[in-house]
Symmetry: C2
């Protein structure tokens, strides 16, 4: 199965088109300014500066006619982000060691944006930027400005922490996107040359570097490059990276002897990948690896690898995922915690990790159309991914907690990773550009296809076509998601082609739907999809799913959620905010037989379904005197104040200023 | 007011005599083995080793006839505790920089133990140890083995982190205790010489070190030395330390320039002490400082200082104290968190901080007999301090959480400071010897006295005497605490002396008591004390307080405790444990009108009042299919399973193996 071609899928959806436009109009231009350090109030990036500096050094070398020599090596560390400085020198490196990737993510989003509609000014800007980036590449193909500027003698000497292969991965993904959008090969060739250089250096053979990326992404990027070019060497390199990970002794021990004897969960290098069954370590790294593993399983038919992917997917969704689709429960190592350990207030649930979960789910869907993958993709997308970006596209969450008391986040150091309002930009700017590249490439996640069948995973208003046995079938979808579950699909030109259309039955429907088909017949229901076939030349499909508010409870092993429920409606998870309900949300209790009223609200700039219900605010009545100071008193009874509880979609929280928020409600 | 003389107060209390015997029989001998590195399974101490090494160097110098010269300086860091090593060299320092204080705490407990009963073998051991310790002192009076061994050139160069003045404080406290117990002056003179040396070096005068302790305790120790010797110079040095703290610029910035511009809450050096109104920073440091401030306020009548002490005491008990009397809500910096931030599961609540709170409360009582101080002293003592030690006296808690799920403590790094069972011994062994010195000195906390009045703060079975106007009044108390509130006091020989007896009315009685007095008359009730006077030659007092189980609720600003209650009975806080109730304690709910049955249990080795009540275990009923994997399902109702809930005193938790525990219960 392959994903839909973004260029061939035009999104015109009331909900998603707005988000895509926001990324185009706000995020992409803003990020370009960031990359060039032109936003005074944001932390410095130095991304384009570094490419220019590396290009200058390159040019000097070329003029001298010498082979490139490492001019110096001055390690500046990577954990501390430098302050913006007036005295930045034109030939010095500044910022994080992985700063190059900021551009690569940006150009990837630019590519997707251009695929969905032309923008000559943006394209011109991108072309000029690509010239700068490509000029930084060494004659041998190497391209990482940190080492080009600071000294090539240390290149690939710290695979664990120095992200050269991570930057390669993002370069490839950005280059593919821009090539597919514009047909321009310059950046793609640069990416291929860097990949070829890496392929020449890495491997199990004597004299080669027997390592692999400290931060995964090159794996899935190389498979994508193989998918595009058909060049086996990229597939081989990706397979090599995946096969080596977790072998004894851990390669990273060579660079970092203090790791000896400690299982390397953080980099998913504790055991060989085919033996991994529990999602562990840095959550973004993990799902990027699992995505690459799924690509490899798809391309090679490796059953052991596929089995590991299935186990890891189940490990996440059955034991380590927040109800918002967020993953990575602890900020310590930005990692997965133990199964069922999902605290709501100290949650990490990084936006990028939810994005990585979308990648992983989408890759599993390419192997098998099972709605359980699409359910998780939709859940993460509508909740944690969207939560990452403010309504105006100008501020972002890195961390997506499910329970927030603003003062605690600011003053309790255990929670300082949790921000009660979205932030302008981050020094380590992974999340905003990641949101940008995901939302602009949404077209890829709506459909996958195989020879005869178009699989519909997300209900997003869009037009697409599919070639089947020499006929070009056009498919046009109207969707009320996420406000209602009414979907209309028109299929034209399919008669006699053998075309099949698979429609996902979302898990939150409990298998119920209303289907009305004209001009095609229902063939079967399998793995959460309805298969239609025997299309007439013109067919019309009405499918609708009830979106009703539901109380959801977590497995009782999630101690944090005992005696609490969350409210969902369709794919949307709801939350309560202080601005609607007053703070001290933990005093609120709902009845187990509560019923909700839906209200269409315009206060967020477009139609949003909010929920109302009767609830109680429980205020303990405490009698004086209090025996040990004022803090504790004898509980005598409680006042049960009737309140009207208002819930809004979780992804919209903190768009109306700083206040308390909670997804879970006492019951 | 002065505290009762331990030697003059014989404790014979069913509850406390057992704890004192445990410290004598188990803790003190075990600790001596630890100090000498003779417990193979415990972390190495090197405490006595270091004293011996310093003594050897001293002797060499004396033989050479040279002034002592710093032989070398090899800083080994102090944050990492060294492993036990076979190759320890006889003239090298090992362990934490504050390792000397382990001996000082031990000798302090030994002194108190000897005051309560002779033990010639223990005294002989102590005398020999004192010879070793005193031989380490330099001719000029300096005594800190870390710098004597590693190089005096760096002495007093890192007041913030290197604990030389902390060791001075513990040396003084240990020396006073041993002197009071035995009349032997050797260690006391050593302590005085070190104090004199420090006094000669520190001060605001030109050329002197204008600093103060990074870890407070010297302040209160020096006041105690002044109380004992009447030497003004010790009082002056303590006052200097207190007055300098918090002045601008922060002295520690001179040693650690990176502190510049950051308010130094951790060391309570953010503002001058008289301006401090909120308890902040490292909790043990804080209450040790406040204890010294209270000593100074008492000795000098400094109203501004007394006002600060009162404000700080209120800040703790009204906004930052767990219901168990534990303080220091966060493990980050072992510190106070913001007001009302008292999480139960990530709590720090260090045993030593509760001990320090007892010190602070006792010093406030010396200024004013107000039962609010004794209430907190009793609360901390019966709950968090006792929780620190296992029933067999062989293992200890450093951290005292109020909500524990063992697996989470072991695998969730956010909670690895929380241990689900008591530990053998700690490298940084502050808590076990601190418990030992507090429990052996309990006699000091029962009574304080002024000219005519004996104030009874704790009801502990004991005999004491008080000289009043030439008469020796004997007071004999029988107490049922903590199992029941029945107290009988016999007073003999008071006739015509003007003797008064003040009896505390515990805060948990809500001011209610039954009093039956023969041979004396009730004079007044003031600040939580009943004052009796006009004693006959022989008087008998029966006072009893109802101990009934009470539901207690925290202030609603303590978000963690919303919709939860704790159960107390008299001074004892109760908890539920998995071993009695099954795990998943967060599923348990009690009715607001719950009633408790008391049961006397013998399973802990002596009579303990346990509580039973009807409760419900709430198990959500979740319908399939679950839309996003197995973790979340639609809540349909819940099963309410009737259970018989058993509660035991909090201080006894984790004495029956590893299991869940929670103080708070859902309501």
């Amino acid at each position: 199965m392959i994903p839909a071609d973004i260029k061939n899928t035009e999104i015109r959806d009331e909900f998603w088109s707005r988000k895509q436009a926001l990324v185009r109009k706000e995020v992409i231009p803003y990020q370009w300014e960031i990359l060039n350090d032109r936003i005074p109030e944001a932390e410095a990036s130095y991304c384009m500066h570094n490419f220019k500096a590396a290009g200058l050094l390159n040019e000097k070398m070329r003029k001298k006619g010498d082979a490139f020599e490492a001019p110096r090596f001055t390690y500046r560390g990577f954990a501390v982000f430098p302050e913006k400085r007036e005295d930045a020198k034109e030939d010095e490196f500044y910022g994080f060691v992985f700063q190059d990737s900021d551009f690569y993510k940006w150009i990837e989003a630019v590519g997707y944006a251009l695929m969905t509609g032309p923008d000559p000014v943006l394209e011109e800007t991108a072309d000029r930027a690509i010239d700068i980036v490509c000029a930084a590449q060494l004659p041998n193909g190497y391209l990482d400005t940190y080492y080009i500027i600071n000294g090539m003698d240390k290149s690939f000497s710290d695979l664990r922490d120095h992200h050269e292969l991570y930057c390669l991965g993002h370069l490839i993904e950005g280059a593919i996107s821009y090539y597919q959008a514009t047909g321009k090969e310059k950046l793609l060739k640069t990416a291929e040359r860097y990949a070829d250089y890496v392929a020449s250096l890495f491997g199990t053979e004597e004299g080669k570097i027997n390592g692999y990326p400290g931060h995964e992404i090159a794996e899935m990027a190389l498979f994508a490059l193989y998918d595009l070019t058909g060049e086996e060497r990229y597939k081989n390199l990706a397979e090599y990276f995946i096969n080596e990970r977790g072998k004894e002794p851990n390669y990273f021990e060579k660079e970092h002897p203090d790791m000896k004897g400690k299982p390397d969960y953080y980099h998913q290098a504790h055991i060989p990948v085919r033996e991994q069954t529990e999602a562990v370590g840095h959550a973004v790294r993990a799902v990027y690896l699992y995505s690459g593993m799924a690509d490899m399983a798809r391309l090679t038919g490796d059953a052991a690898l596929l089995n590991a992917c299935e186990k890891l997917f189940d490990s996440i969704v059955n034991t380590k995922m927040y109800i918002t689709g967020g993953i990575g429960a602890t900020h310590l190592g930005e990692s997965f915690s133990l199964p069922y350990d999902l605290p709501n207030d100290t949650a990490y649930s990084e936006t990028c990790a939810a994005i990585g979960l979308v990648f992983f789910a989408e890759r599993m869907l390419r192997i098998k159309a099972d709605s359980k993958y699409a359910d998780v993709m939709e859940l993460a997308l509508f909740n944690t991914v969207l939560s990452g970006m403010a309504l105006d596209g100008k501020s972002f969450f890195y961390v997506n907690p499910l329970d927030v008391i603003p003062e605690n986040c600011k003053k309790d150091e255990r929670k300082t990773h949790v921000k009660p309002v979205r932030q302008k930009w981050f020094g380590c700017a992974c999340c905003p550009p990641n949101i940008a590249r995901l939302i602009t490439s949404l077209g890829r996640y709506i459909y996958t296809e195989d020879e005869n069948t178009l699989y519909t995973h997300l209900y997003v208003g869009s037009d697409t076509t599919k070639a089947v046995n020499g006929k070009l079938v056009s498919v046009s979808m109207e969707s009320g998601f996420p406000n209602n579950g009414n979907v209309k699909i028109a299929v034209n030109g399919a008669k006699g082609s053998g075309f099949r259309l698979a429609l996902r039955i979302p898990g939150w429907t409990n298998g119920k739907y209303r289907l009305d088909v004209t001009g095609a017949s229902e063939k079967e229901e399998k793995d959460g999809y309805i298969y239609l076939g025997e299309f007439s030349e013109s067919a019309a499909i009405d499918i609708s799913f009830d979106m009703i508010p539901r109380l959801m409870a977590a497995d009782s092993r999630v101690a944090e959620d005992n005696l609490k429920v969350a409210v969902t409606r369709g794919p949307i998870v709801y939350c309560m905010e202080g601005v609607d309900n007053g703070d001290k949300l933990r005093q609120i209790r709902i009845d187990k037989n509560v019923s909700f009223t839906e209200e269409m609200s315009g206060e967020f700039g477009y139609d949003v379904v909010t929920l109302k219900a009767d609830a109680k605010r429980i205020i303990p009545s405490v009698s004086a005197p209090r025996p040990f100071g004022e803090l504790y008193g004898e509980f005598s009874s409680f006042e049960e104040k009737e309140i009207s509880l208002r819930l809004i979609p979780y992804y919209l929280w903190a768009n109306r200023g700083e206040n308390e928020m909670s997804v879970y409600i006492n019951i």
